[in-house]
């Protein structure tokens, strides 16, 4: 018998329904979708992640091709893959240059093959709570970046999204702390959850912002307010939050367990362990990592890109 009141939920458990859904949908296609991953760094972690993407792809019925390429040849390789009808999805293992050139490369992937949802178009739609690519017809759904999307699916699974509320407002009344405000995950995640109705405290290294659609969700999309750091820093705001989400990419960083109220839902999306083991004595539901859900979302995005293309071609 467990000694704690709460439970640890593994990403594999949450991912299961999505990997099943994806596997089923692939079977219904008349071809095997192909994902190309570009590796242009020597990072063994990226190589491991690539191996793991390959394994997942192949096991679910996709074709995966890892292309190793020199940093300075990457853009050309992306442009070629953009124009190659045999390639359905493209991803790059970042960082490549580790500077702003990586943002340039991110935009070089055609939105039509951007399985990670990194294109400005998709981030813009996320921030502006625009859910379709073809308003007002609204047939082609916009793509969401994989990690924020995985977080939504995890919160749905855990029952934080309340199905009794109208679609689009299902986080109404929930307070969520997100520790990380990177442009890739933390900021879009805060916006996405706020757009779904939550009050989100988005913490960066030395400041905290509040993302909401206003007290009554009257706004169509979120607004951002700067908060006083001392009054709203993570350990001060955490006790009032229903959900605490961390994504600090450092093995040294540990979220202060003592500030987490008993029964809080706790999720870590960093590859580093942002919580000590004693978090299990506090957390209601604890999800220590989310990678397997993220990769399911990647393949789900790939299928959505294929679907969107089909809709465009049928016009």
């Amino acid at each position: 018998m467990s000694h704690t009141a709460g439970r640890t939920i593994l990403a594999s458990t949450i991912a299961k329904q999505y990997t099943e859904e994806v596997t089923q949908k692939v079977k219904e296609l008349d071809f095997k979708p192909k994902l190309v991953g570009f590796l242009a760094n020597d990072d063994p972690a990226a190589q491991m992640y690539a191996n793991w993407t390959e394994k997942t792809c192949e096991s679910l019925g996709f074709t995966y091709q890892l292309v190793k390429v020199a940093k300075n040849d990457l853009e050309n390789a992306i442009v070629e893959a953009n124009g190659n009808d045999g390639v359905n999805g493209i991803m790059v293992y970042f960082p490549v240059f580790g500077d702003q050139q990586d943002q340039y490369l991110q935009q070089a992937i055609s939105p039509e093959k951007d399985v990670e949802g990194l294109n400005f178009l998709y981030y813009h739609n996320l921030y502006h709570n625009v859910r379709f690519l073809d308003a007002p017809i609204n047939e082609q759904k916009s793509i969401l970046p994989c990690t924020p999307l995985a977080m939504v699916k995890i919160l749905e699974y855990l029952g934080i999204y309340n199905k009794h509320l109208p679609y689009g407002n299902r986080l109404y009344g929930k307070s969520i702390l997100v520790v990380n405000r990177s442009e890739i995950v933390g900021r879009p995640l805060a916006a996405l959850l706020a757009n779904d109705g939550a009050t989100v405290y988005s913490a960066d290294i030395d400041n905290v912002q509040k993302f909401t659609r206003g007290d009554d969700l009257l706004m169509q999309r979120h607004k951002v307010e700067e908060l006083n750091y001392e009054e709203f820093k993570p350990e001060v705001i955490a006790p009032q939050c229903d959900v605490v989400i961390t994504g600090v990419p450092s093995e040294k960083y540990k979220f202060p367990t003592a500030s987490v109220a008993n029964g809080t839902v706790v999720i870590n999306f960093a590859s580093a362990k942002n919580f000590n083991e004693d978090i299990k004595e506090r957390a209601g539901l604890y999800v220590p990592s989310i990678g397997k859900v993220t990769i399911a979302m990647l393949l789900r995005n790939l299928l959505r890109l294929i679907e969107n293309k089909k809709i465009r071609q049928s016009k």
Copy 2:
């Protein structure tokens, strides 16, 4: 009488023909074009630059409106200006957040109003040596980022571009050192000059790359080769270069004058002085700053955006 063999050329001298051209073209329009500048930081230097933009705009026949806005309201303000028919051009005084969110905001400006040429579309065209927006009709010229474009115009003025060579190859045979490889100026500048036929040595803090279209300019666009830093660092490569261009944003940095061969063309685009006064004893032509040409290019881009819009509307 001057004690040096070379000459210092001021940006105002080079800008003159372009400010005249711009003033003439504005007169031919049946409306007064409007540029909106968004200021969302407290940097006095940005405020000064804004004042200076305003002065130049008004004196050449444009309307300029400075809009001060809170950082977190900037994106909405940009989106509104994108949709406002009374606004012809939009610029933002960066940095705003000083992190990757600035790259997001940069993309938020509609390409149709992006006077600074910061949109991915324009950078992509620059890197790929694509000069029109509407191939194969080729009526709408692509926009070039202001500072790299200003540099091209300066090099044309100084006679480094050779008019006897075919258009597109007019830097053939020229070796150019560019010290700065920022994503905003240094890297696109190196690519642009290489695409026009030069051999460009692009120096970053601890590495040097060579940008060329191959020995015989057989390539349609440049390639990038990594060089051994010790063999090709700025002070080693400078003596062989026809042109030395610097853009190091630090008052402490000084390019080593002794490494510049007599008669070299020397241009500094940083707001900091990258050369000591003794450079005048070495340089053939020395351009100590380029701001006035850059701002002329900004207004030239604004007129080009208006022209492109007219062409689209006439279809």
